[in-house]
Subunit: 587 residues, 2 copies
C-alpha cells in the first residue's frame, strides 16, 4: 500500500506501492511480516504497509489438518500481500472482505448476533467497539483532561526510536485521534482482538478448524490444567503468588540522545530482582499475551501510551499507576502469571536472554484457539446443549455488566466534571461573597460588630477551603472507582471475541453432522470436536470463575474505599463548618 524503504543491515525488504509480495511469515512480531518480492528477495516489511490478498497457496502454519479443515484453510492460508495504494482499509479488508470465517460466523451464529450490537459478529464487534466503546471518547479521564491529545506526541520519540515498528500503533493512534482523545480501550477495541484475528489469519481463524478437527493434538509441554472445585471448573492456582512492583520511571535515551524513552523498573515480589522495561516492551508483552491467550482469557489493554508535553510528569505517574494495575492483574491470573511468556518478561537476566526469549515467543505456534489444546480438564465431557447454555450465560452476563460498567463510568465522568468544575467554583463564589459582605460590614463604622465580621470572613474562607476539598476529592475516591470500572470495561470488551470464538466452535460442531454424512469427517472427528468444544467451555467457565472472584474482590474493595473516603470527606466538611460556626458570637 505504501512505499517502504528498507534500512540497510536490518533484514528489511524494500517494497513499492502496488508491488505484490508473497508472505513467508505473516507475523515475526512487532508489527512486521516476512515477505518475498517478485525478484525472490526476502525480508521484513511492516504489516501495515501491505494489504493481504486472498490466495490459493498453503498456509505454512497449518499443520495436522483433516480434509475438511484443509478445505476451509485452503481459501485462506498462504496469503499474498500486495502493496497497493488503497489505504485505510488494510485490516478490515482482510477480516471482513476476504475471510470466509467472518461470513461463516455471521450467518451461523445468528441467534447470538441478534441480542444486540454488542454481540454482533466478532469481527464487527471489534470494529464497532473502536467507535462506540471508545472509553475515552465517552469518558475523558481525569488525567486526559490535563492536556489535549495533540499531534505533538512526545511518546513517539520516547518509546519508538524505530519509526517502522511503530507503524501499526501509529495507524491506531490516528484513527483514535480522529474520534477524540485516545486511550487504552480504543486500542483494546481496534488492535487488541483484531490483531490475532485479522492480522494473523494463519493463527487465529483457521486455528479453530485446526484445533477442533486435528486427529490428535500434540501433547504440549505447557499444560494448562483445569480442575473442578467448589465453584465449578477452575484454573489451578499456584501455591505461591507474587505481584510485581512497577516503579521508578526514568528517562533513557539512545542514538546519542536524539531519541528518548521512559524506562520502568519492575520488581517481582517473589524474586525481588528488578528488570527494566520500556513501554514498548510492555506493549510487546501485551500483544503476545493476546495472541497466545486471547481466545480464552480476556487480556485488558495497556494504558494508552500517548503523552502530551505539558503534563508529562502527571501523565507518567498516571501511566505508571495503570501499568502497575495491569501488571498486578496479570500476576493475579494463574495462567498468565505462570506462563513462560510472562515469566520471561519479568525474569530475563540480560539483553541476550531477553532477545532470545522474545524470538522464541514470536515463533510460538500454540496461539489463538490452539491454546485450548494445552488444556485438559479433569472433568466429565459436556454435551453441546450445556456448552451452549454456559456460553450464552457468559455472553449475557458480560454484556449486562458491560452496560452496567459503562453506565457507572458515564455517571462518574459527569460527577467528576461537576466536582472539579462548577461545584467548587460555586463554593468559592459563596466564600468570596461572604467575605466581601464582611468587608462591607466592617466599613459601617458601627461599633461592636468586629466579632461578627471576623466570623463571616472565616465562614467565607471555610467555603473557599470546601471548594478546594470538593475539587480534590475525586482524586481520592471517584478516581479509584473509575479506574476499576475502566479496567473491567477493558476486560469486558474482550468477551465478544472470546464468546464469538466459542459460538463459532459450537456452530462448527453443529454443522459437523453434515460433514459426517457427506464423509468429509469421520464420526470420531465429530466426537473429538464435541470434546474439544467441551474443553473450551471448561476453560470459559474456569476463566469466568476467576473473573467473578476477582470482580467480587475488586468491587468490594473499591466501593468500600469510595464510601470510606466519602464519609471522611463529608465529615471533614461538617467539621470545618462546625468550626466556622463556633466563631459566631452568641447574641
Amino acid at each position: 500500500m505504501y512505499d517502504f524503504a528498507a534500512e540497510p543491515g536490518n533484514n528489511e525488504l524494500t517494497v513499492n506501492e502496488g508491488e505484490i509480495i508473497t508472505i513467508t511469515n505473516p507475523d515475526v512480531g512487532g508489527g512486521w511480516l516476512e515477505g518475498r518480492n517478485s525478484k525472490g528477495e526476502r525480508g521484513l516489511v511492516p504489516t501495515d504497509y501491505v494489504e493481504i490478498l486472498p490466495s490459493d497457496g498453503k498456509d505454512p502454519f497449518s499443520c495436522g489438518n483433516s480434509v475438511a479443515d484443509q478445505a476451509f484453510l485452503d481459501s485462506l492460508s498462504a496469503s499474498t500481500a500486495q502493496a497497493n495504494s488503497s489505504a485505510a482499509n488494510s485490516n478490515n479488508q482482510v477480516s471482513s472482505g476476504n475471510d470466509p470465517w467472518s461470513a461463516w460466523s455471521a450467518s451461523k451464529s445468528g441467534n447470538w448476533d441478534s441480542t444486540d450490537g454488542w454481540g454482533a459478529k466478532p469481527e464487527g464487534a471489534a470494529a464497532q467497539r473502536n467507535t462506540s466503546n471508545n472509553w475515552d471518547t465517552a469518558f475523558g479521564h481525569p488525567q486526559a483532561y490535563q492536556g489535549p491529545a495533540t499531534g505533538d506526541d512526545d511518546e513517539w520519540d520516547e518509546d519508538w526510536d524505530d519509526p517502522k515498528s511503530a507503524a501499526p500503533y501509529f495507524k491506531d493512534s490516528e484513527a483514535a485521534e480522529a474520534g477524540g482523545a485516545q486511550r487504552g480501550n480504543s486500542r483494546a477495541g481496534s488492535s487488541s482482538m483484531k490483531l490475532p484475528l485479522n492480522k494473523f489469519p494463519g493463527f487465529a481463524k483457521p486455528g479453530m478448524e485446526q484445533y477442533l478437527l486435528a486427529k490428535q493434538l500434540a501433547k504440549p509441554k505447557e499444560r494448562i490444567p483445569i480442575i473442578v472445585g467448589d465453584y465449578g471448573p477452575m484454573w489451578v492456582y499456584p501455591t505461591s503468588t507474587f505481584d510485581c512492583v512497577v516503579a521508578d520511571p526514568r528517562k533513557g535515551s539512545k542514538m546519542y540522545g536524539l531519541k528518548s524513552y521512559i524506562e520502568y523498573q519492575l520488581t517481582p515480589t517473589n524474586t525481588n530482582r528488578s528488570v527494566n522495561h520500556r513501554y514498548k516492551h510492555f506493549d510487546w508483552l501485551y500483544e503476545r499475551l493476546l495472541v497466545k491467550f486471547g481466545s480464552a482469557i480476556p487480556i485488558p489493554s495497556l494504558p494508552d501510551k500517548q503523552v502530551t508535553g505539558r503534563f508529562e510528569e502527571e501523565f507518567i505517574k498516571m501511566r505508571m499507576e495503570r501499568l502497575q494495575a495491569w501488571m498486578t492483574r496479570m500476576c493475579r491470573h494463574p495462567v498468565i502469571s505462570e506462563s513462560e511468556l510472562f515469566q520471561q518478561f519479568l525474569n530475563f537476566r540480560d539483553e541476550k536472554e531477553w532477545k532470545s526469549g522474545k524470538r522464541k515467543a514470536e515463533k510460538d505456534e500454540l496461539v489463538g484457539v490452539m491454546i485450548f489444546s494445552t488444556m485438559e480438564p479433569e472433568a466429565p465431557d459436556l454435551d453441546l446443549i450445556e456448552i451452549e447454555q454456559k456460553c450464552d450465560a457468559v455472553g449475557k452476563f458480560t454484556k449486562a455488566m458491560d452496560d452496567g460498567v459503562k453506565e457507572l463510568l458515564t455517571v462518574g465522568q459527569e460527577h467528576w466534571k461537576r466536582c472539579t468544575g462548577p461545584l467548587p467554583k460555586e463554593y468559592q463564589k459563596i466564600g468570596k461573597a461572604l467575605q466581601s459582605l464582611a468587608t462591607v460590614f466592617s466599613s459601617s463604622g458601627y461599633q461592636g460588630e468586629t466579632d461578627l465580621n471576623a466570623a463571616i470572613t472565616e465562614a467565607g474562607k471555610t467555603y473557599e477551603e470546601i471548594a478546594g476539598l470538593v475539587a480534590e476529592q475525586p482524586k481520592k475516591d471517584l478516581h479509584f472507582l473509575m479506574e476499576c470500572n475502566h479496567e473491567y470495561k477493558g476486560f469486558l470488551g474482550c468477551f465478544p471475541d472470546i464468546i464469538g470464538a466459542h459460538k463459532g466452535a459450537i456452530e462448527k460442531v453443529k454443522e459437523s453432522d453434515k460433514l459426517v454424512a457427506t464423509s468429509k469427517i469421520t464420526p470420531q472427528d465429530k466426537q473429538n470436536m464435541v470434546k474439544r468444544v467441551g474443553t473450551m467451555s471448561y476453560a470459559l467457565q474456569a476463566e469466568m470463575n476467576h473473573f467473578h472472584s476477582n470482580r467480587i474482590y475488586d468491587y468490594n474493595s473499591v466501593i468500600r474505599l469510595y464510601l470510606e473516603q466519602q464519609v471522611q470527606f463529608y465529615e471533614t466538611i461538617a467539621e470545618k463548618l462546625r468550626q466556622a460556626l463556633g466563631r459566631f458570637p452568641v447574641m
Copy 2:
C-alpha cells in the same frame, strides 16, 4: 389618557380620553385621585387613567410657604390632569418632564450622582432599579420556580375585586413581566418610592421647600424623638415591644362568590386580639407608610402578590411567610410600630373604625419630607460639612452593601439551582448505576456474593437518599439566607431615594446664601434650613443605627442558622454513608 366609566353610587367621575380635569385631591388612596371636570362635576378617577399636566394654579396642599418656596411650588402645584391617549409614560412625564425638582437635583447633586448608576439622581435611580435591581429577574426565587409567572393571575380576582383600583399595580405587573418573573422588589423599585415622589408632587417634592423654609414648623401632636445614645443618634425604643403573628390564610369571597380573596389573621402579641386583613389592606398600609415615612425610613416592599393557579397553596404559604417577615420588621421599628397608622392597622375594632382610620390616614399632611418636622433631636446642631459627610458615608455604605447583598443573592440563586437540579440528579444516577450493577452481579450465578450485592444495592439507595437530602437542603438553610438578603435588598433599594432627599436638602442649604444675598430669604431662614437639614441628618443617623443593629442581629442569626443546617446536612450524609459502608462484607 383612557376612557373611564364611573360606577354609579361609587363617587366616581366619568372621564373621556383627552378630557382635561382639575385635580382637587391628588391622592385619596388606593390609586385614586379626586378631580373635577369642565362641567364642574367632582369625583374619583384612577390615578393611572390620567396624566398630570403642569399648571399655574395653587397647590391646595401647600401651606405656610415662604416667598422663595412659593416660587418653587408655583410651577408645580395645583396640577391639572389631562386624560389623553399617550399611554406608557404617564408617571415619568410627571417626574422627569414637568418636575423642576428633577432637573434641580440632577444639576446640583452632581458629585453624588457621579459615584455610579446606583447613586444617580433619585428619580432615575427608581426607574433604573426597576430593570437592573429586579430581584426576581436576577433571582428566580425557590417559590417562584414552582410555577411560571403567567398572565393567568388569580390574584387579581382574589384581592382586587375592584378592577379600577388595581390599575397602578397592573401596570407595574405588566412592566415586570416583560422583563421576566415579577416579585416584590420590582415594586419596591418602580412603584414604592416613585409613588410619593412622582404621583404626589404636592407632598413629597415641594415638601422639601416647605420643610426647610417654613418660618415655623407647627408643633405636631405626633413627635418622633431622637436621642443620642452610646452608638450616636438613635430613635427612642418603646419600653415594651411586640410582634404580630400572621396566620390562618382564608379564602373569602364577595359579590355573591364572583370575586374571591385571601384574608389573613393578624394577632399582635401585646393585645392578643386578632384582626383580619386582605392583601390589599397590607398594600394600602405599605403605601401609606411609604408616603409618610419613606423619606426617613426605608420601607421594604411587600411580597409580590402575584400567584399562579397551580401552586396556590405553596404560594400562599410563601407569601404568608414573607408577610410575616414584613410585619415583624415593621413591629421591630420604633417609629413605625408606634405610629398611629400602624397601630390603627393592627387594632381597629370594626369596619367603621377601620374606614374612618383609613380616611384620616389618607388625609394626613405630615408626609414626605414633612415627617422631619415631627422630629426634634435632643442633640447639638450639626454643621453642613459634617451633615454631608454623614450622608455620603451612608450612601457609600448602603451602595456597597447593596452590591454585597446582590452578589450573595446571585451566588445563592446559582447554588440553589444546582442543589435542586443537576446535583441531586447526579446522585440519583450514581445510586441507580450502583443498583443496576448489583442487579447484574446478582445474575452471575456465582456463589457467595449475596452480601456484596445487597451492600452495593444499599449503597445505591443511600445515594438516592442523598439526592433527596441535597434537593431538600436549600429549603432548610439557603432559603433563609436568601430571604434575609432579599429583605435587605429591599431596604437598600430605598436608600437612593432617601439619600437623594438628603442630598437635595444639603444642596438647597448650599445655595441658600445666594437667596439670602438676593433677599429672597432671611438669614434666619437660612439658619432654620441648616438646623432642619441637621434634623434630617440626625434622623438618618438614628435610622442607620437602627439598621445596623438589626443587620448585625439578622446576619448573625441567618448565617449561624445556615452553618448549623449545613453542618447537620453534611453530618447526615456522612452518617448515611457510614451505615452503607458498614454493610459491606470484610474480605
